[in-house]
Amino acid sequence: MESIMPDMQPMNQTVQETPQFRVLTEDQIEQIYFAALDVLERVGSRVHEDEALELFRNSNEAVVSDDKRVRVPASLVERALKSYPRKITLQGRNGKRSVALQKDHVYFGTGSDLPFTYDRKTGERRRTTYKDVTDAARIVDALPNFDFFMSHGIVSDVPNPQTYDRHQFMAMLEGCTKPMVVTSVDGEGLEDLWKMACLFQGGEEEFRLSPMFVAYIEPISPLTNDRSAVEKLLFAAEKGIPAMYTPCPSSGATAPATIAGMLVQSLAETLLAAVMCYLKKPGMPLIMGGVTTVMDMRTTTYSYGAPEMSLASAANTDISKWLNLLMFSTGGCSDSKWLDEQAAIESTLSLLTAFLSGANLVHDVGYIDSGVNASLESLVMNDEIIGMVRQVGKGIRTDEEGLALKVINEAGPGGEFVTRDHTYEHWRDWFLPRFMDRSDWETWNSEGCKTMSDRVNEETQRILDTYEPQPIDDATRKGLKEIIDAAEKRHSQ
């Protein structure tokens, strides 16, 4: 096609593919990093697990005190930091390598373990069940903008609290083929989940190349590491299971009231884990995390809707990129008890911020009631928000096609664009709303004056009524059952 622009090769141009967003400069990141190193040298972090304490002692560099405090010199931290992979590709149980974790690639998924659910029939709040988790799994499998799945709810109708994680993983697998992030009771639980995943993947080696899940593990802020968390982390290191060790500090309660202070503390917590895994087995796929928020000083709620959470999380992502670590972040969640205006506002703000920051795995999408209540409708609503947010991330092309001089010339003063080829080719670049209503009042009125929540509800019901995920074959199902039964047996004695 002949160019109609007089000069398409200007010099000294800078263009950006996408919008640019960052909270911290490199100098600020360094300040936070050096402060975190200082915390590890002076304050240290407490570790309640013997093997890990032994690893630290044997390093001949870390110092372990009688009260189980571990202090680590910067040189060891910096060596450890060099050992982590900058890319991990996750695949679903269907074998699709659909989540390529690498710098600035953003994926969205649910959170886990919500104890309550609003019953869709009675509207009453009740405890979450196995079926609720499978339903959430199907919804996430069906929704186009969700990339990975965490359990959303916790299965409470299972025989033994000590083995709930195996049943929960099974419920997740029943409904969803996408890559997952899993929670587990302890090291033994994680081992079972990993064995279950290996059944789909054809063994440990395949799992390592393109894992089906990431293990979710947390320290206790401030600066404490409990036995079961460390057990899981060491097991993950040994087997090459990707894991995030995600601090959940609440500013003003379990961390300093300044965001920078909270970031320093949680970075120190992350760095300690980085050293611990390095001492166990260098190079395990460790992912940085952080649900960094504030405790509401009126209600004491750990806030999932605070703007400070979005700001701190984005800053944390800046830090992770500087450290060459992948980042597990938070968005699409709310303190509201009900899927209402508050939930939409809070979800949108945190999703947009997390997306622009370039965090790799954005989780907790769909949480309401500060991480206590499950809502399937919230998943559906957030799917639409993610679509909008991704659209903002597309940025603006300013090449010849984008500047559209040709079609402006064709249309001329007083012309129209609807019938032009250029429009026919490009309108599909736009975001196409599914639940946002842009109709005129007459149409809206004649179609029953449906609100956003009506539309979201209908879609939720439609998916539940019609969507069937790719089934699990019989042989695999049998293997899964064996692992679960064996766990039940071990724990019934």
Partner: protein
């Protein structure tokens, strides 16, 4: 010039720990009646703090700072008060049950009880049933509090109550339970006396139950 107890109350509301402590000493040195200092200075101030917290005019850090000011004054007064006047609003033993490591919510409940004048023993987290039983025997509290943040650890609270029954001391204490997955229904099911939804309302309920 006589010490102005209204001003003492204001300083307490403003969270001026040292000033409240000094002023209490001044009032004592002047020979003011200790009971009057307590009631018209310290308690009067704390009452306003309570009201303002409910009206969302004061917030947790401020309430806890005022409580600290209150106890700095109490430290001076206690030796001078009669036993009945200096008695705590009640005694409270609290801990998080076995297998549960959630700490901060339980600590906040403990701090708010302390602020309300309770004598508080905070046992910690991840506690065996027996630890609760022993603590009830040892401290003979008016109120035993248990916290659980996990559906998987909630049943432990029922186990503690049963163990207290077996030890024959269930009826010596009122029992309060709380934590995110705990509900009023669950509290009743396991035979607890009080369900606490959050720190502030738990203190109100605790006070009422202890009746002091």
């Amino acid at each position: 010039m006589a010490v102005d107890l209204g001003k003492m109350a204001d300083l307490l509301i403003a969270g001026k720990v040292e000033d409240v402590s000094n002023m209490t000493q001044e009032a004592i040195d002047e020979g003011m009646n200790p009971k009057e200092i307590l009631e018209n200075g310290l308690i009067a101030g704390m009452d306003v703090v309570g009201q303002r917290f409910k009206a969302c005019e004061m917030f947790i850090p401020e309430v806890l700072r005022s409580a600290k000011a209150m106890s700095s004054g109490m430290d001076k007064l206690r030796p001078l008060l009669s036993e009945s006047d200096s008695r705590a609003a009640g005694s409270f033993v609290i801990g998080t049950v076995k297998g549960d490591l959630h700490d901060i919510g339980k600590n906040l409940v403990a701090m708010m009880f302390e602020g309300a004048g309770f004598k508080v023993v905070n046992l910690g987290i991840d506690l065996d049933t027996q630890v609760f039983v022993d603590a009830v025997k040892e401290h003979k509290p008016d109120l035993l509090g248990m916290s659980a943040l996990l559906t998987t650890t909630m049943p432990r609270m029922g186990e503690v109550i049963n163990a207290l029954k077996e030890a024959g001391i269930r009826d010596q204490v009122k029992i309060m339970v709380g934590g995110a997955p705990v509900t009023e229904d669950f509290a009743q099911e396991i035979g607890a006396d009080i369900y606490g939804a959050n720190a502030a309302s738990s203190v109100d309920k605790g006070r009422e139950a202890v009746g002091k």
